[in-house]
């Protein structure tokens, strides 16, 4: 019973946020500066999710060459810059992480 409220409530807020502007599309017009600002959205929002998850994987800031999350991210960045292929970046990054954590035991 409690779980139905939880899931129903989470659906209601998630879907409203996702649907609100789509429902009004055609009736609203954004000024050009706002459209330009929205072009920054994808990298900026993704980075706001990534940064804490790799620098504070255990809840506290861990800026050290022994942090496997940070090291494997560095490997992923370099791979992305060289190969420019998403699948390669993901696979190499995950292998690097697995190697550091379970191979070397960081």
């Amino acid at each position: 019973m409690n779980e139905s409220f939880l899931i129903g409530g989470m659906f209601a807020v998630t879907f409203s946020v996702r649907y609100l502007l789509f429902a009004m599309a055609g009736k609203i017009h954004f000024p050009s500066w706002l459209n330009k600002a929205l072009e920054f959205v994808p990298p900026v929002v993704l980075m706001a999710i990534i940064a804490p998850s790799i620098t504070m994987p255990k809840g506290e800031l861990w800026l050290s060459p022994l942090n496997p999350w940070l090291l494997a991210s560095l490997v992923a960045v370099i791979t992305a810059l060289i190969r420019k292929d998403l699948l390669t970046t993901i696979v190499v990054g995950m292998l690097a992480f697995a190697g550091l954590r379970f191979g070397i035991g960081l």
Binding site: M47, P57, A76, T89
Partner: protein, 250 residues
């Protein structure tokens, strides 16, 4: 008569092509999302969400980050209204994504827009954004969106189920660090955007603020960092455009 038939046939084929292109453009993102879905499944029961609840949450809510946060809050004993409020804040970033897509959906009927809204995730937005940035015929690009959404959706629900099963077999799985899969996927998605100084500075500002404000309640730091990064980025862009105009007029 036969030309009409050919036109319909072509339209159907290009819908199918868009749909399949959308699914295949999303394939790399599935690889990154799969481990994330699996750990959501493994974490559900230890954190106090039933197996049925976990599957229903993936089917009905379909929002990775907030589903994780909901588990954390459930385990911490947070009340349901608090979890729902936090979900709202964490998913508020989707309004930025939908704002970006408004001009592309305004010609579509409302049932299409509702389906697309339900399927709006970080990954599908990134895949579809690349599609819209391409030149060419965009009249059936919503089928590309549908292909991307259904690939993500079926993958997410399936991985939740796999996680529920694996979690019972390997209870220590939650310590393996599978959540890194999401970070590395997002890194691969961010790098291609870093082409000029305003974007690079905006991303750095967002990263630093997200770390500094990480302890704010309800994950408000995510929003704070996003808005700060976007504001800095657009300001730098405007300064850059203004100074290049001044340069031209001399």
């Amino acid at each position: 008569m036969s030309t009409v038939y050919t036109a319909i046939n072509n339209a159907e084929q290009s819908r199918k092509r868009e749909f399949l292109n959308g699914a295949s453009a999303t394939f790399p993102l599935l690889v990154g999302a799969a481990p994330f879905g699996i750990i959501f499944g493994t974490l559900a029961e230890p954190n106090g969400l039933s197996a049925l609840g976990a599957i229903l949450m993936s089917l009905i809510v379909f929002a990775g980050a907030s589903q994780f946060i909901a588990l954390g809050l459930l385990a911490a004993g947070a009340s349901i209204p608090i979890i729902i409020a936090t979900t709202f804040i964490v998913n508020f970033r989707h309004i930025l994504y939908s704002a970006n897509l408004v001009s592309k959906v305004k010609h579509l009927p409302h049932y299409w827009r509702a389906i697309m809204a339900f399927g709006l995730t970080d990954e599908t937005f990134a895949a579809v954004n690349n599609r819209y940035l391409q030149q060419g015929n965009l009249t059936r690009a919503h089928w590309f969106y549908l292909g991307s959404f259904l690939a993500m959706y079926s993958n997410w629900v399936l991985c939740t189920y796999i996680g529920l099963t694996l979690g019972n077999i390997f209870p220590q799985m939650q310590d393996w660090g599978l959540d890194f899969a999401m970070s590395v996927t997002f890194i691969g998605m961010v790098i291609p955007y870093l082409k000029n100084r305003p974007v690079i500075v905006a991303v750095l500002v967002s990263a630093i603020l997200a770390i500094v404000s990480h302890d704010l309640p309800h994950k408000l730091g995510l929003l704070l960092a996003s808005f700060a990064g976007i504001s800095v980025g657009i300001s730098l862009l405007m300064i850059k455009n203004r100074s290049s105009k001044v340069g031209e007029s001399k």
